[in-house]
Amino acid sequence: MADKAKAFRAAFPHTLPILAGFTFLGIAYGVLMQSKGFSWPWTLLMSTTIFAGSMEFVTVGLLAGNFQPIYAYCLALMVNARHLFYGLSMLEKYKGAGWKKFYLIFGMCDESFSINCSVDPPEGVDAGWFRFFVTLLNHCYWIAGSMLGSLAGSFVPFDTTGIDFAMTGLFIVIFMNQWFSCRDHRPALVGLGASVLCLVVFPTDYFILPAMVLILMMLTFFRKKLDPASHMEEPAK
């Protein structure tokens, strides 16, 4: 029990930016659902089970159209394809988390991934529980935000426009923390450069898949230079 409390206290501060961002985005989502005629049980169901913000907004549109479950499946695969990279990044870190591993993977949204892949829990804190609470807290913020929007969207007392910039801020800060924690900046530059290039070349809504392919190609092409382990397999010169 003490272990869990310790992990919770260590995890909570890291999730505060997401509390801000998800409250706003969740409210926006709940209000949108309400305006399309979906009352709170639908919002609750989708926030809890899909738990992928952008895809939930897309699903509202799907539900308004004709019944095409295969199309819905394929569209969601494409919108969420970036999660494949998250999984590959977390293969080692989620090892040994026991039963919690299932939930860690199920709840691996952009924000939970970015914290769990970049923050190592402080000394003496169980890594599995730390990451579990990061994931769970973010999940709860999203559900609570969307419920708030669904039930009380019109009563928010101040103008929250722009509060979702907390998400952008979070990713910038994580990018910088990673930048300073690592001497080799080339993987970060590959990600940044390939994405900017694809955003310029491809339509905004479709840039992420080509960006993923380009990142994969560049990282594969430069493997000899970037991977110290691949040198060790070669005979010493």
């Binding site: 695969l77 990044s89 293969l91 040994g96 910039f165 801020g169 690592c182 993923m212 990282l219 991977d227």
Partner: protein, 108 residues
């Protein structure tokens, strides 16, 4: 769509989302050694992916017409500048977000 069809549609989306999250773990289970190439990707991808997410946040910013994405650029500069200076995550994100909100609500 009736209620059952809506539930099936939501189910399809849930299944697809779970597919993208679980697939790498199913292909490379913890019980077997992960190929060296995949381990390499696991080491370098986190850095590249966060770079991609930063760009993703700016995808709807238009730089060719007013306000030229100024609120976003200024907000990002505040976050980055404060973080370089104080290295306090909540301060950087909090101040950057408040300044961004003031800009989009009052200035632009």
């Amino acid at each position: 769509m009736n209620t059952v069809q809506m539930l099936l549609t939501i189910g399809a989306v849930v299944l697809a989302t779970a597919t993208t999250r679980f697939l790498p773990f199913l292909i490379f289970p913890a019980s077997r050694p992960v190929p060296a190439y995949i381990r390499y990707l696991g080491k370098v991808l986190p850095y590249a992916v966060i770079g991609m997410l930063v760009v993703y946040c700016f995808k709807n910013v238009t730089v060719t017409k007013a306000p030229f994405g100024l609120p976003e650029w200024i907000g990002a500069a505040v976050v980055a500048g404060l973080h370089l200076w104080k290295k306090n995550m909540l301060l950087s994100i909090g101040a950057g977000t408040i300044i961004y909100m003031l800009m989009v609500q009052l200035v632009f």
